[in-house]
């Protein structure tokens, strides 16, 4: 152990005791996208004993701009599984568990129950509030990170009785006001910066260091290098409410979380075996004659990604919100572009 972790062990507030504590700890990382791909190598290389990686998504070409854990050869593969393989190559002395599924109100408490820290690297509020609530109910420290173009936020919540994410932002947004990276873009070095801050705090939590910066919203803007560290206090009534719920309440669906399901024609080739679902009225022009296109009224298979489309994307988006399963997307482009894509596919 000494050689591998020597540079940490030599650190004054670290030493052998902290390294041994880290070596018996368990981190659950939810989301292996931008932030997850930045966080995970630091946890693995530092010697966190067990890392559970939860992500249902697959690697796509547009991920590679910032998710440097992945390579072109990984496109189409499950991120949780690829991440576990890469981390195993980095540190074969630790335990890695890939869980390629979404986390929701039904699975959250079970998935986090054995964790010493949970890191929220997701891109939607529904999951963030569910993870927060699961951690509050089980007294597990919760490190979250979030991005907006060139700016990022992170905080350690629920650490030794400190404030939780709901103490900062009590309710999830209920309408389409907070966009995510898929819609507005993200500056790639930002994921490394915020991911690094998250990993730093998680390692301090796991190693038992006294300098954990709990209940402080850390913000950083990479355009101006403006930064903040703003403290927030526990909302004891809200914490008590979450702890005494019979079960975690689902967060109401809102437009922002559906942004991740937005697809453009250029994304289609990255989906494995998609079925295209025409949500337009029967007889609406232009008619599309393609075996991979079905009407919404037809029975939809559960084992293929569904891509809903209409003339402009608006109706497809509304329909996508009503289908309660994973792997449902909608096309946000004019139907002519989609038809052009289908024609190209026929000729290829």
């Amino acid at each position: 152990m000494k050689n591998r972790y020597d540079r940490h062990i030599k650190l004054k507030p670290w030493g052998t005791a902290a390294q041994e504590q880290l070596g018996s700890s368990h981190a659950v990382v939810v989301g292996a996208g931008g932030l997850g791909a930045a966080v995970l190598p630091y946890l693995a290389s530092a010697g966190v004993n067990k890392i559970t990686i939860v992500d249902y998504d697959r690697v796509s070409l547009s991920n590679l701009q910032r998710q440097v854990l992945y390579a072109e050869e990984d496109i189409g593969r499950l991120k949780a599984e690829v991440a576990a393989e890469k981390l195993d190559a980095l540190n074969s002395e630790i335990q890695l568990k890939a869980i390629p599924q979404a986390i929701d109100v039904h699975s959250a408490e079970h998935l986090v129950k054995e964790a010493d820290v949970v890191l929220d690297c997701t891109d939607n509020f529904r999951t963030r509030y569910v993870i927060n609530d699961a951690c509050v109910r089980q007294d597990i420290p919760f490190v979250f990170g979030a991005l907006h173009t060139f700016s990022g936020q992170m905080a350690v919540c629920n650490y030794k009785g400190s404030a939780t994410y709901r103490c900062l932002f009590k309710e999830a947004p209920t309408n389409a006001v907070i966009p995510n990276c898929a819609e507005i873009g993200v500056f790639s070095p930002l994921v490394a910066l915020i991911g690094s801050l998250m990993a730093s705090e998680a390692l301090k939590v796991l190693a038992g260091l006294a300098s954990v910066q709990a209940a402080k919203l850390i913000t950083y803007d990479l355009l101006t290098h403006q930064q903040h560290a703003l403290s927030f206090t526990p909302n004891t009534a809200e914490i008590e409410r979450i702890k005494t719920l019979e079960r975690i309440e689902p967060i109401a669906l809102n437009d922002c979380e559906w942004n991740r399901q937005t697809l453009f024609v250029s994304d289609l080739k990255e989906l494995k075996d998609p079925l295209f679902v025409d949500v337009r009225e029967a007889g609406e022009h232009p008619q599309i004659d393609n075996t991979e296109v079905v009407a919404l009224s037809e029975g939809l298979p559960n084992d293929r990604p569904l891509v809903l489309f209409c003339a402009t994307g608006k109706r497809a988006r509304l329909c996508a919100q009503k289908i309660e399963r994973e792997n449902v997307y909608y096309l946000k482009e004019e139907i002519e572009d989609f038809i052009h894509y289908l024609n190209q596919m026929k000729h290829d």
């Binding site: 989301g31 996208g33 931008g34 932030l35 997850g36 929220d120 690297c121 997701t122 891109d123 939607n124 509020f125 990170g145 979030a146 991005l147 907006h148 700016s151 990022g152 936020q153 900062l168 932002f169 009590k170 309710e171 999830a172 947004p173 309408n175 006001v177 907070i178 966009p179 995510n180 990276c181 507005i184 993200v186 919203l217 913000t219 803007d221 903040h228 560290a229 703003l230 403290s231 927030f232 206090t233 909302n235 922002c256 942004n259």
Partner: protein
């Protein structure tokens, strides 16, 4: 009393990075919220939290003289 406002994330894209608002001395954070949502159309659509002097403030707290930071949650990951 005039307060300097600093908006962040999507709020800065809507209202600019800085703004100003005038409130009576001794105003609380909840008074500020009402005034902000009247002065900045569309702000009430957003969740946001208000900080001053390095700390977020709850609605019943009194404002001090410092600049007011207006932070929405971010979503991307």
């Amino acid at each position: 009393m005039e307060y300097t406002l600093n908006f962040y994330g999507p709020l800065s894209e809507l209202f600019g990075a800085h703004g100003r608002i005038v409130l009576a001395e001794g105003s609380t954070v909840s008074t500020l919220r009402v005034a902000l949502e009247q002065a900045f159309e569309g702000l009430s659509d957003y969740p946001y939290t208000l900080a001053q002097d390095g700390a977020f403030k709850s609605d019943h707290e009194l404002l001090s003289s410092g600049a007011i930071e207006v932070f929405p949650p971010f979503s991307g990951g």
